[in-house]
């Protein structure tokens, strides 16, 4: 009676039945892996070469500026990470920045997702909030920093605020998009059995939203690092020095290699967040989510 399943006497699926995993062929997979491992180092190599060239003669040739403004990549690595003093300063800075951006991000995630859930409940709620979300996104952060400064003073709180402002939009929009992504037929199922709003939210909309939610997390995680660093540049007092402050103090002393070292560490932090949330997302939805056909 049955076409495929369970025909193996031990409850095992014989090979070659319709039960086989749908996925890329081994060959396609291998090619993909190869390009994954070879591509990035090549680009890095080219990048470092151009950087070195700019240091040696490019800065003078193209911009008529001294080469020390762009130290050689080898100097940068050596000065920033080869000496205990600078290394500790930079690493402590990036640690503190990580803490600030994680606190900011957590806060943003909680508030942003709550807002998205509210907006997903009714068309009018979405319409009411959306313009202000866009406005928030469009506000030039630097322009309102003086206001934030006068409201919150210096210290941790205003940094978190800047962090949240920058990271908020992707969380809300991606969560909202995700909550609305359950298809009409799936909603009909819930309607048939008279499911209430709460059941629909927990058993349908939230799980359907997860892939988009993790996309939002990934984008916002990177932004929250930027937010934390921008925040540090403006609110120097009252809190431990993050990577932004460490970089700024090196710049004021015209010690450029460590400034670039700080930039590298700051980006590394953003990349780490991106990778961690990407990994977390794959852990949570990788089993069932088909990435193809949706971005």
């Amino acid at each position: 009676m049955s076409m495929a399943a369970g025909s193996g006497g031990l409850g095992m699926t014989p090979p070659g039945t319709a039960l086989e995993m749908v996925g890329p062929s081994p060959r396609a997979k291998r090619k993909f892996e190869l390009s994954r491992f070879i591509g990035p180092p090549i680009v890095l190599l080219v990048f470092v070469a151009i950087w070195q060239y700019m240091h040696v003669s490019g800065m003078r040739k193209f911009f008529d500026k001294p080469g020390f403004l762009l130290p050689s990549p080898f100097t940068v690595v050596n000065e920033s990470f080869g000496h205990a003093l600078a290394r500790d300063k930079l690493l402590n800075g990036v640690k503190w920045t990580a803490v600030v951006s994680l606190i900011g991000l957590s806060f943003t995630i909680v508030v942003g997702m709550l807002l998205a859930v509210i907006m997903a409940q009714a068309r009018w709620a979405e319409r009411a909030f959306y313009p202000y979300l866009v406005a928030l996104q469009a506000v030039p952060i630097l322009a309102i920093v003086p206001i934030i400064l006068s409201v919150f003073g210096t210290g941790l709180l205003p940094r978190l605020f800047v962090c949240a402002m920058i990271a908020f939009f992707p969380i809300v929009t991606n969560t909202l998009f995700g909550l609305q992504s359950a298809d009409v037929g799936q909603h009909d199922l819930f309607t048939l059995r008279g499911a209430n709003r709460w059941t629909r939210l927990w058993k349908l909309q939230v799980p359907a939203a997860l892939p988009a939610v993790f996309t939002g997390f990934r984008i916002s995680a990177g932004l929250s690092v930027i937010g934390a660093i921008v925040g540090e540049q403006f609110f120097r007092g009252g809190s431990k020095p993050g990577i932004g402050i460490v970089m700024e103090s090196y710049r004021q002393k015209a010690i450029y290699p460590q400034v670039y070292g700080g930039i590298i560490l700051g980006s590394a932090l953003g990349i780490a967040f991106f990778l961690i949330f990407g990994w977390l997302g794959r852990r949570v939805v990788g089993n069932w989510y088909e990435a193809s056909g949706r971005s």
Partner: protein, 255 residues
Amino acid sequence: MTATSTPLQRSGAPALRFSNVSMVFPDGTHALAETSFDVFPGEFVTVVGPSGCGKSTLLRIASGLNPATSGSVTVDRSSLGYVFQDATLLQWRNVLRNVELMAELEGIPKAERRKRAQAAIDLVGLTGAEGKFPKQLSGGMKMRASLARSLVLDPSVFLFDEPFGAVDEITRERLNDEVISLFQRNGFAGLFITHSISEAVFLSTRVLVMSARPGHIVADFNVPFDYPRSPELRFDPAFAELSGRISHELRGAHS
């Protein structure tokens, strides 16, 4: 013309009754006009008609997903089975948990619904695939899971909205066999929508032909073949003759 039911071993109250049901959508589309017919327990009624004639609307009204503009539907919705055109499985649930869904929404305790889900899975031939996610299933297997999901409530009325339109011919015939064996086993009242005449004749005790929009029933055929029906029935001269008559009505319905 509305349905003139020709009773054939029917008894008691109909499981599903459409009385003068009309449907006009907010955009002005006149989908159904004064449609009346009954589906009795133990009957398998298939509606065929040109596409866009309001066949699916019948099911949406029967299930309560859409209210009719006028007229009434009498049906017990407490254990309604409804198989959609798409399998509409929840991507994040494996087969077992998808099949449990309707029972879960109904508030049936976990142990009980798991037992029922397993039984339904075995019945549709998905044993061994309980842990698979929808993306790992073929089209036919998705439809089986979708069938099983409705079976868990042991429906007395079973609605099918062109469920096998998207699967290949062989799979479709196999799924038709399964629907027939479920029908024989569970004795629900079935209302099936399709645009395939051969599928309609093969499955049903009765075939209704619907006109183009606004849809209404223009012909009502009894299908005299005994169950269980073997695949060879499709090549029986009587089968062809009946299909021909339905096809003729259907062509009339288009104009």
